[in-house]
Amino acid sequence: MAEGIKDKVAIIGMGCTRFGEAWDKSADDLMIESSMECMEDAGLEKKDIDAAWWGCCFPMGGLSGLPLSMLLKLPFIPVTHVENFCATGTEALRAASYAVAAGVYDIALAIGVEKCKDTGYGGLPDFGGMMGGTSRWDMPNATAPGLFAIMATSYFAKYGLSPEEGKRTLAKIAVKSHHNGTLNPKAHMRREITVDEAMNAPIVAWPLGLYDCCGVSDGSAAAIVVRAEDAKKYRPDPVYIKSFNIAISSGEEKMYTDWDYAHVETTVRAAAKAYKEAGITNPRKEISMMETHDCFSITELTEYEDLGISPRGRAKEDVDAGFFNLDGQIPNQPDGGLKCFGHPIGASGLRMIYEMYKQLQGKAGPRQIKNPKIGLTHNMGGFPPMNVIGISILGL
């Protein structure tokens, strides 16, 4: 009988680079930075690590575990490359956690990295032939913002929001994240914006404008995990894993006509399992803070409903009320989120956990949330009709 991962694994060290357009840094430079900070934080050296998982979605530097092991000069230990779209970072940590929980290793490293800004154009690398199979023909000439923008048109239509009302709600989400970003020295974007600016920004993919879209960034984040019972040997304030859950689309969203393209079904499914594993019965009451996957403002809006925080179709009311602001009941994206911390694909899942880790330890500086108990990260890879959701719940 499966018992779940609750309280079996603890994070004893983390590192995260500043995210942004690191024109002078390679993926290697970023990984060295995050892993060194992580090991220093844990008080460990490379020789202490038993196994490693590295996540990278567009491994321009090569496949397999070699790019990490040869870079860090890891001592002939198992290193595995992990990829699951934008949920890659969460997957790397999940694998490392399960490995120590299983008792196979004592200390495991998870690291995520992405060097997005070597393509020569804005946005993520073109999907062209990357989606495999027949996508060369039967995938629209699409980009990520467009495939999420479709969710905005259908959400607005379903809940009777005019484009003006809808965009205003989305703008408030962006304004909140921009504010949080100004408080984070590692964030990619550190500038306040106004609702009007967000609403009148150039359209990237109708109805999403520039400020509805997260930054495309370079960056890396890393974590070291051990079994919970050993955690206090390394540090007094380890952060414990309460749940890890992944849900992946079954095809029915994209091909069967029941799904409404106004929510993300995988989030609903993954959240239900995660709450059960973590023993949460009323997420709106029990969760202290969140980092959700705000690749686009519409994604964040629907996540509030899909995660069971806001009632279906009524996330707008919570947004209007400031429920998710830094001083709200459940602050979301305290570090600026994908929106302002930035989104180096393979690193983002670990970056979210990094913020929860720092907040739970009370080390989040000017953006410190008062006395948090339970933090949730929600990391999404793919597009609304076909995606990977990784949810983690962390606590003291």
Partner: protein, 481 residues
């Protein structure tokens, strides 16, 4: 009795007023101004896609499984090796055990293909052949051709039962008359002096072919309800008819000022327009022009009334959108090199073996329908996508290309590269079930709404110039006409 059993046509949505061309390029050749507008293929259309559209119109409500051949006439086929007729047949989901051929290299190829289709049925080789004629010719910026050449297609189904217009006779003329030419490595037509073309070629060959036909079959101009021949020059077009002894009312309207000279498709498109108005008993004479001429005549039967449900020429003419920019026109035809940005230059290789394995899914938009629960799904699945079914390998082929659907969510994407930005695409739910996402074309972002009905159109998906590949797929568009 052998002849036409159905007809269809296609005229692209965009029209370009010749004044717009003249305003942009008239400085070069001030004498080029031609009145009217012309039909312009969208950036994702070419002779193949227009032929598919005309054929779909022609096959409206007919059993595609009964077609034994497809002949394609054009001078602007995207491929010189990879039979274009084969691509069209694949898009139409015709059976593979059919005869296909490309007729090319002359604007009289449309009537040549039509005569060969008639021969094939008459000779008993096949029961039913569809003939598609389509052209999308370029003129150099500032040339008269740039104003005159229009884009369009026609399709005629030939058979020996349910004939709406029987082919009664033909007379051909072949001359290596080099009035205009385009070498294999050239993109644009070149031509000799207009006055010479008009006096020595166009007037002479058209008249000679028609007179030859009349003489051969002992017919009189008065015997015909309509006479159809392409228009290269409006005044000369009228003169030819007059000199042959036709009344003005007998001359089929030439669409020169609405569509333009559509090359190999021109006579067939005019014939379709004539058939739209034809009454049982009418005789219609059709002559092509180009390196000689073919003259053919038809006798319309009672069956004509059964083949009225076509968009044909009339409805396509009425459904149009002004293209207000000359530069958009030349960009869409790849005459102007435009900034695509790095993203626009990203072109993944086309896997021919992948395309071959999935040819029905990609080229004919055939998905699957679960035999157990009836759920339609695209792309074809082996395991049923309906959550409470999940039947394994109980699928049958199901064609989506002829189904309508509606938009459940859409966007206009300015990050994706498009020659016609923003790149619009949508998730589409098909009537009867089935869902997928598709690029949208022939529409404006402003006009889109969640819930609006769409139909499918075979379009050029990409052009990989470095590898000489034109990729095709289906797009969704608001229902025309």
């Amino acid at each position: 009795m052998v002849g036409i059993t159905s007809y269809g046509a296609y005229i692209p949505w965009y029209r370009l007023n010749r004044n717009i061309i003249y305003s942009a390029m008239g400085w070069l050749n001030p004498a080029t101004l031609t009145p009217g507008e012309k039909a312009v293929a969208n950036y994702d259309e070419d002779s193949i896609t227009m032929a598919v559209a005309a054929a779909i119109d022609c096959l409206n409500g007919l059993d595609r499984g009964k077609i034994d051949g497809l002949y394609f006439a054009t001078t602007t086929s995207p491929y010189r090796e990879r039979q274009n007729a084969g691509i069209i047949a694949a898009a139409l989901d015709l059976r593979p055990d059919i005869r296909t051929s490309d007729f090319s290299d002359s604007i009289k190829a449309g009537t040549g293909a039509l005569l060969s289709a008639y021969d094939a049925v008459k000779a008993g080789s096949v029961k039913s052949v569809i003939v598609c004629a389509s052209d999308c010719r370029l003129g150099k910026p500032g040339s008269a051709q740039e104003e005159i050449h229009g884009d369009g297609a026609a399709a005629l189904l030939f058979g020996d039962s349910g004939v709406i217009a029987s082919l009664e006779g033909a007379y051909s003329l072949s001359h290596d008359f080099m009035d205009h030419w385009r070498a294999a490595e050239d993109r644009f037509d070149r031509s000799w002096e207009d006055r010479w073309i008009r006096d020595v070629g166009y007037n002479e060959f058209t008249s000679e072919a028609i007179s030859g036909l009349l003489k051969k079959y002992s017919l009189n101009t008065k015997d015909f309800a309509k006479v159809v021949y392409p228009c290269l020059y409006t005044r000369a077009h009228a003169d030819i008819g007059r000199k042959l002894g036709f009344e003005r009312g007998q001359l089929q309207e030439h669409m020169f000022a609405t569509v333009g000279n559509t090359g190999a498709a021109y006579p067939s498109m005019m014939l379709v327009a004539a058939l739209e108005d034809a009454k049982p008993g009418d005789k219609i004479l059709v002559a092509s022009y180009g390196n000689g001429a073919d003259a053919v005549f038809f006798q319309v039967t009672q069956e004509i009334e059964k083949a009225r449900e076509r968009r044909g020429i009339k409805k396509h003419l009425a459904s149009k959108k002004d293209l207000a920019s000359y530069e958009r026109f030349i960009a869409s035809r790849e005459v102007l090199t435009i900034e695509t940005g790095g993203r626009g230059e990203e072109t993944a290789a086309t896997s021919a073996s992948t395309l071959w394995r999935h040819r029905r899914a990609i080229e004919a938009l055939v998905g699957s329908r679960c035999k157990r629960c009836g759920t339609r799904q695209y792309p074809p699945q082996r395991i049923c996508v309906k959550p409470d079914c999940g039947a394994i390998d109980e699928m049958e082929a199901y064609r989506f290309s002829d189904k309508q659907g509606h938009i459940i969510g859409y966007t206009g994407d300015s990050l994706a590269f498009s020659i016609n930005p923003p790149q619009m695409y949508a998730m589409v739910d098909f009537e009867g079930g089935g869902r997928s996402w598709f690029d949208l074309s022939d529409c404006d972002l402003d006009s889109l709404k969640v819930g609006m009905p769409v139909e499918m159109s075979f379009r050029r998906k990409y052009h990989d110039a470095a590898r000489g590949v034109y990729g095709y797929f289906w797009k969704a568009m608001p229902i025309r006409a």
